[in-house]
C-alpha cells in the first residue's frame, strides 16, 4: 500500500479550513499531534471522516470538527481507536 493517499472533501462543513471538492494529500500514519487534521474511519458508520485532533493517547484519539456548533465528533461518539486512523493531512489542493 502506498504511503500517500488522496481523498476528496465531499461537503462544506469544515469550511473555511477545508472546502468542498478540495483534494487532501495524506500520509498513511498513526503518528500525529494535537492540532493535526486526520482522516479516519467513522467509529460506527461505514464512511471516512476528516477531523482535527484535540487529544491523543497511546491507543485512542479525541477528534473534533472545526465548526464545533454543529460537528458530530468525539464529543458525541467518544474517543476513537488509533486503528481507525488512516493518516494525517500533509497538504490540501483546493
Amino acid at each position: 500500500m502506498l504511503p500517500i493517499a488522496v481523498f476528496k472533501v465531499s461537503d462544506k462543513s469544515m469550511e473555511p479550513s477545508l472546502k468542498e471538492n478540495d483534494y487532501l494529500i495524506i500520509l498513511r500514519t498513526r503518528k500525529f499531534r494535537v492540532g493535526d487534521t486526520i482522516v479516519l474511519v467513522h467509529p460506527y458508520k461505514d464512511f471516512k471522516i476528516v477531523k482535527r485532533v484535540s487529544g491523543v493517547s497511546k491507543k485512542e484519539c479525541f477528534v473534533t470538527g472545526d465548526n464545533k456548533n454543529v460537528s458530530e465528533d468525539s464529543r458525541s461518539f467518544g474517543a476513537v481507536s488509533l486503528d481507525n486512523v488512516i493518516g494525517r493531512i500533509l497538504f490540501k489542493v483546493g
Partner: protein
Amino acid sequence: MKGFLYRAFGTLDRIAKFEKVYAHCDYPCGIYDPHTAQMAAHTVIRMIDLINETKASGTSDPEHQHNLIRATMIKEQHAEICKNEIRILWGDYFKKEHLEAYPNLNELVFNTMKLASKAKQSADVKAAEELLATVEQIAEIFWKTKGVETKRVTAFYPTKREIVYPKV
C-alpha cells in the same frame, strides 16, 4: 480560477476516482424536502388572514387581543421556519451543478430571505403570497434536480393557495 495543481488533481480524479471523505457534522443523509418550507409559507398566509379578520372585526376585547398576539407570534415563527428550511436546501442539498443548471436559484433563495423578513414585519398578505410563490419555484427546481416531475395543486389548507407536490 483554480490553479494548475488543482486541475491536475481533477484530471487524476476523473481517472482514479479518489475516495470521498466527509467533514460533515452528521452523515449526509440525503433526506431533503421542500415541503416543510411550503407549509411554513402557507402558515404565514393563514396567520395574516386571521390577523386581518380579527382586525376587521373591530373588537378589542382581551380574547381578540390574545388571538391577535398568538397569530402574530406564529406568523413570525413560521416565517423563520421557512427561511431555515430554504437555507438548509441551499447550504446542504444544492450543489454547484444545480446552480449552473438553474442560474436563478441564488436569486430565489435571496428573495426568500427578504420576503420572509417582509412577512414578519407586516401583515401584508401580498408579501406572504410572494414568499409562497418563490418557495414554490425552489420546490420545483428541487424536484427537477432529482428528475421528478411536479404538479401544482390547490392545497387542502384553509389558505386555498397552491402547493407543489412531486408526481409520484
